[in-house]
C-alpha cells in the first residue's frame, strides 16, 4: 500500500529511510561490484583503481580443468542432495502436520536443527559417524551430509505450504474414490508445487555454496567452494572472480525465470520469500 503522504514530518522521515536503504544496498553490493570489476583486471586482485581491462582471466578459467571438475562435482552433489532432502523432507512435513507419535517434539527439533546450527557441528558429527562406520570419505559422504542438513529446508517450506492448503481438497479426493497414494500424487503434490519447487531451488543453491559440512566430509574430489577455498589459501588469482561472476550471472537468470514462473502461477508473490519462511520457526 502507498503510505507516501504530504505531511511535512513524515516525508522527511521517509527520506531518511530512503537514504538508509541506499546505504544498505551500497554495503550489500560493494563487494559484488568489486568482484566483478576485478575479474576484468589485468593486474590481478591487488591495487586500485584497476588497470588494463582484459578477458584473460576468463580464458584461463575456461582452460582450467580442476575448476570445471569441481563444478561438475558440485552439480552432482547439489542434485543428489536435493533428491534426498525432498524425499525425506516432504514426508517429514506431512508427518509433522498430520501424525501424532511419541517423540514428535524431539523429531521436529532434530529435523530443523541443522538450519540454524553452525555447519561445522553437523559436519564433524557426521564425520564421526562415518569414521565409526568405516565409510570412506567421498562425494557420497558430502551428498549424505548436504541431503541430511537440508531436509530442514524442505520440511519448513512444505510445512508452511501445507498450512495454506485446504484440507477439504484431499478429503474430496478420498471422497471421490481415490486412495491415499492416488490422493498424494494427484492432489497433495500439485497443491504443494510452488513450495516444493521453491525448496528444491533453495536446497540446490545452498548446497552449491556449502562449505562447513563439506569441509569435514571431503574425500579426493573437491566441490567448487572447496576448490576455491584451496586456491584462496594458496594465493588468489582473479580467475576466482571470473568464476564467481559467471555463477552470479547464472543465478540472476535462474532467479528471473523463477520469478516469472511464480508471477504466472500465483499472481505475484515474491521469490526469496521461501528464505523468510525458512527463517520463520515452525
Amino acid at each position: 500500500m502507498e503510505l507516501l503522504v504530504s505531511e511535512g514530518k513524515s516525508v522527511s522521515g521517509s527520506r531518511w529511510l530512503l537514504l538508509h536503504a541506499a546505504v544498505v544496498f551500497a554495503f550489500l553490493y560493494l563487494p559484488i561490484a568489486v568482484l566483478i570489476i576485478y575479474s576484468f583486471n589485468g593486474d590481478g586482485v591487488g591495487g586500485f583503481p584497476p588497470h588494463h581491462l582484459t578477458f584473460d582471466w576468463y580464458r584461463i578459467l575456461f582452460a582450467d580443468g580442476p575448476i570445471w571438475d569441481s563444478v561438475l562435482n558440485s552439480l552432482q552433489v547439489a542434485l543428489a542432495a536435493m533428491v534426498i532432502s525432498l524425499a525425506f523432507g516432504v514426508p517429514a512435513a506431512l508427518a509433522l502436520e498430520r501424525a501424532q507419535f511419541p517423540g514428535k517434539a524431539l523429531f521436529r527439533r532434530l529435523v530443523l536443527l541443522p538450519l540454524i546450527l553452525p555447519g561445522i557441528i553437523t559436519g564433524l558429527s557426521l564425520l564421526m559417524l562415518f569414521n565409526v562406520a568405516g565409510t570412506k570419505l567421498s562425494l557420497l559422504t558430502i551428498i549424505l551430509g548436504h541431503g541430511t542438513a537440508l531436509i530442514s529446508v524442505a520440511t519448513t517450506e512444505v510445512f508452511a505450504g501445507l498450512q495454506k492448503v485446504d484440507r477439504a481438497q484431499e478429503e474430496a479426493s478420498l471422497d471421490l474414490g481415490a486412495n491415499y497414494w492416488q490422493t498424494f500424487w494427484r492432489i497433495t503434490v500439485p497443491n504443494l508445487k510452488l513450495p516444493i519447487i521453491g525448496a528444491a531451488l533453495l536446497i540446490f543453491t545452498l548446497s552449491m555454496d556449502e562449505i562447513a559440512v563439506s569441509f569435514f566430509l571431503i574425500g579426493r574430489d573437491n566441490t567448487l567452494p572447496l576448490e576455491i577455498w584451496g586456491r584462496l589459501r594458496r594465493g588468489i588469482t582473479p580467475e576466482i572472480n571470473a568464476v564467481s561472476t559467471i555463477i552470479f550471472v547464472f543465478s540472476l537468470v535462474a532467479i528471473l525465470l523463477w520469478y516469472r514462473l511464480r508471477v504466472r502461477g500465483e499472481g505475484g508473490s515474491e521469490i526469496g520469500l521461501e528464505i523468510a519462511e525458512v527463517a520463520d520457526p515452525v
Binding site: 485446504d166 478420498l174 471422497d175 474414490g177 494427484r186
Partner: protein, 376 residues
C-alpha cells in the same frame, strides 16, 4: 467401488441373500442406518447416541446451530472422522469401517473443494479416472453430468475463473457423476447471495427428485431446511432433538428448543389442574394430566380481536404494543400484557400504527412441548 459391492455379495451366504432380497423387495429397509453413534475429541463430547435412518430417495436435512455436531456427523458418514462409538450401515454393509474411498457416498463440500489445478471437466472426471473407467465412458458421463448442471460451456475453465454459484454446480456434478447411493451436502449454499441461494434451493431439490439419490443436507438455516427437506433432524449440542417432516416439526415441536429454533414462538409456562390450564393471566381448558406444562404458541396463532365479534372458545387478553416490525405481507408486533407478559404476534401487513390491542387465540393452537434439558 462397485467391485467391493460385488465382492460382498460373493461372500454372503444364501440365507443372507434371501434375507437381503426380502428386506429390499418387501420391507425395503432404510438406505442408511446410523446406530448409537457417538464422537468425542478428547474430553470434548461432540455427538452422543445418535440413531437415525435415511430412506432410499429421501431428502433429509440435519439442522443445527454451529457447534451442534452436524458437520461431525456428516464427516463420520463420509469417512473423514471415525466415530468413538456406534455403527453406520448402508444396506447390509458396515460403512464405518471402510475408508472414505470405498464408500458409495459422495460429498459436496462447504467450500466446494474444487481442485484448483484441474479444469472443470477434469474435476468432474476425477472420481471416474481414479476408478480407472474407460476414457470413452468417462467422456460421456462427464458430459452428461455437466449438461445436467448446465455447466458444459465452462468445461475447460479452471475453478478460479468461474463464479461461486457455478463452482457449486461443478461440485454437484463432480459428486453425482460417480452415481453414489447417498449424497452428503455440507452447507453447500452458505457462501451464496440470498437470491442465488433461493434459486439453488429450488434447483437442488428438483435435481434430487430427478436423480432419485438420497441426500443428507446439513444447514444451520431453518428456512432452508423447511423449504427443501422431506424430513428434518434437529441436532442440539450433539443430541437429536426431533426428527420429523417440516410440517410436523413446525406444527408439533417436541421441545421448547425446537419450537424456538424453527420459526418464532411464544413459550407459556402453565399449571394444569382438573382440565384447566393456568398460565399467567390466561386460563383455558385442556385435556391434560395435572402438573406443570409448557406451551408453544406461534405468533400467527394470535389474532387481533375486536370487541364486537369474539370467536367462541377463544382465549382473550388485552395489551399495549411495544414494538412493531414491518415484514411486507405480515408484521410482527410485541405486545405487553398483564403481569409483564410479552407476546409476539404476527398480523397482516399494513395494519398501521397500533397502540392498545385485544388479542385472542384458540386453546388448540397452544402446543405442549417438553422442557429442553440444559446442555452445553
Amino acid at each position: 467401488m462397485p467391485a467391493s459391492g460385488v465382492r460382498n455379495i460373493g461372500m454372503m451366504t444364501t440365507s443372507e441373500i434371501a434375507m437381503a432380497s426380502v428386506s429390499s423387495s418387501v420391507v425395503r429397509g432404510p438406505l442408511l442406518r446410523i446406530q448409537n453413534v457417538a464422537k468425542s475429541f478428547g474430553k470434548n463430547i461432540v455427538l452422543r447416541n445418535i440413531s437415525l435412518d435415511v430412506a432410499e430417495g429421501e431428502f433429509l436435512t440435519i439442522l443445527g446451530e454451529s457447534g451442534s455436531g452436524k458437520t461431525t456427523l456428516l464427516r463420520i458418514i463420509a469417512g473423514f472422522e471415525t466415530a468413538s462409538g456406534g455403527e453406520v450401515w448402508m444396506g447390509e454393509e458396515r460403512l464405518d469401517q471402510q475408508p472414505p474411498y470405498r464408500r458409495r457416498v459422495n460429498t459436496v463440500f462447504q467450500s466446494y473443494a474444487l481442485f484448483p489445478h484441474l479444469t472443470v471437466e477434469q474435476n468432474v472426471a476425477y472420481g471416474l479416472r481414479v476408478a480407472k473407467r474407460p476414457e470413452v465412458e468417462i467422456a460421456s458421463r462427464v458430459k452428461e453430468a455437466l449438461d445436467k448442471v448446465k455447466m458444459s460451456a465452462y468445461a475447460k475453465s479452471k475453478p478460479s475463473k468461474i463464479s461461486g454459484g457455478q463452482q457449486q454446480r461443478v461440485a454437484l456434478a463432480r459428486a453425482l457423476v460417480n452415481r453414489p447411493r447417498l449424497l452428503l451436502l455440507d452447507e453447500p449454499l452458505s457462501a451464496l447471495d440470498a437470491n442465488l441461494r433461493r434459486q439453488m434451493q429450488v434447483e437442488l431439490k428438483s435435481l434430487q427428485r430427478e436423480v432419485g439419490i438420497s441426500f443428507i443436507f446439513v444447514t444451520h438455516d431453518q428456512e432452508e431446511a423447511m423449504v427443501m427437506s422431506d424430513r428434518i433432524a434437529l441436532l442440539r449440542s450433539g443430541e437429536l432433538e426431533q426428527v420429523a417432516t417440516p410440517r410436523e416439526i413446525y406444527g408439533r415441536p417436541a421441545t421448547a428448543y425446537v419450537a424456538q429454533f424453527i420459526g418464532h414462538t411464544n413459550l407459556l409456562k402453565g399449571q394444569v389442574q382438573a382440565g384447566k390450564v393456568r398460565s399467567g393471566p390466561f386460563t383455558w381448558s385442556a385435556a391434560l394430566p395435572d402438573g406443570p406444562a409448557l406451551f408453544s404458541l406461534r405468533p400467527e396463532s394470535l389474532h387481533l380481536a375486536s370487541q364486537e365479534n369474539a370467536a367462541s372458545g377463544s382465549v382473550r387478553i388485552s395489551g399495549k404494543v411495544r414494538h412493531q416490525a414491518f415484514h411486507g405481507a405480515t408484521e410482527l408486533i410485541r405486545v405487553e400484557c398483564a403481569d409483564g407478559l410479552i407476546l409476539v404476534v404476527r398480523i397482516p401487513g399494513s395494519a398501521g400504527a397500533l397502540d392498545n390491542v385485544e388479542l385472542e387465540f384458540f386453546p388448540g393452537d397452544a402446543v405442549v412441548v417438553r422442557e429442553s434439558a440444559e446442555r452445553i
